[in-house]
């Protein structure tokens, strides 16, 4: 077989493998509905390394994710805004905390009772 024939054969073969691989991956796992960013890493970090992941760091990471989620045109997951709001309240940023609890409520009406409770607690501060 000439070297050229090998080349000619390998291209469609390679393309075939790519298509197959794409199909297999598409079948295995559909893309996430939400933009998760650092949300779960932040939760892990705040308990595993509280000294390295204080509320200030949580806020920084989650704020980055908010922008990235907008760029990716994906919604933020349930609980994300509530966590960000909680982190704001930990550092005394009451207005920002309030905004996030309201945003969680708007995005997920199921959260309303708990968010209202957190908002009531904020109002006392």
């Amino acid at each position: 077989m000439e070297p050229g024939e090998v080349k000619a054969l390998s291209k469609p073969l390679l393309a075939g493998f790519c298509v197959m691989a794409a199909l297999v991956f598409a079948g295995c796992r559909s893309p996430d509905t939400y933009y998760w960013g650092h949300y779960e890493d932040v939760i892990y970090g705040m308990y595993a390394h509280p000294d390295r992941v204080p509320p200030e760091v949580q806020i920084q990471k989650l704020e980055e994710d908010v922008h990235k989620a907008i760029s990716a045109n994906k919604p933020l997951p349930p609980g994300f805004r509530a966590h960000l709001g909680y982190a704001y309240s930990e550092v005394g940023k009451w207005d920002l905390a309030r905004q996030e609890f309201e945003a969680e409520k708007k995005a997920f009406p199921e959260s309303a009772i708990f968010m209202d409770r957190l908002l009531t607690n904020l109002a006392k501060k």
Binding site: Y34, W36, Y47, P77, G79, E110, A112
Partner: protein
């Protein structure tokens, strides 16, 4: 150094004493009381590693939310309860359902228990095991909607004694710094909640185009 990595998957359903692993879960109660919102309480930890509680809890939200449910912010809920006089998972899991309804408005509560979390270092290999069980209860009626169990295990061995001794030592160093069990915990959750016929049914936020 040649290193083989075995990832052993295990999946079983908690279904009484019969141990019927492959039989699909009976979703009669689940379908009768389909929840929209799930309150995940801080897990009980029966493992020997104190990191199990939060190392495991931190990977619960994603698979559940991607199944289509509203998942309350797990860390905020945990902190909220601590601030309200419930410092331990044991106490949190004792809260009456009526109280959960009043405070959170959740449709269902997920009670989790970490059974294994961590690594065992034998001479020739190290094995990391994470296993957990879960029980979903309808807040309004107290009915059990679903129960599940999953285990993930990862072990390393090369078939070469000197090499294995080095692998075990290196693993010990890496595991203690990166908490490898945390990564396995995510696999346990994925397995426990999303496996067809054994995991949860899709919730109201699950995109219709994905279900087909």
């Amino acid at each position: 150094m040649k290193r083989l990595l075995f990832i052993l998957w295990g999946m079983a359903l908690v279904c009484g004493l019969t141990g019927c692993v492959s039989k699909p879960y009976d979703y009669t109660n689940f379908r009768a009381h389909p929840p929209r919102s799930l309150l995940v309480l801080t897990p009980l930890n029966q493992s020997t590693d104190v990191r199990g509680t939060y190392g495991y809890l931190s990977s619960v939200s994603k698979p559940l939310a991607e199944m289509g449910y509203y998942i309350y912010p797990v860390a905020v809920v945990d902190e909220f309860m601590k601030e309200n006089g419930l410092p331990t998972a044991g106490e949190m899991q004792q809260i009456p359902l009526q109280k959960i309804h009043d405070v959170f408005g959740a449709d269902a509560v997920l009670y989790l228990t970490v059974l294994d979390y961590g690594s065992k270092y034998q001479i020739i290999a190290s094995t990391t095991t994470v296993s957990a069980k879960g029980k979903l209860v309808d807040v309004a009626t107290g009915t059990t909607l679903w129960e599940g169990f999953a285990v993930a295990q990862e072990s390393s061995s090369s078939g070469n004694l000197i090499g294995d001794l080095i692998v075990a030592a290196v693993d010990q160093a890496i595991n203690s710094s990166t908490d490898q069990a945390h990564n396995l915990g995510a696999q346990v959750n994925q397995q426990m909640f999303t496996t067809k016929d054994h995991g949860l049914l899709y919730g109201p936020y699950f995109p219709k185009e994905k279900a087909n």
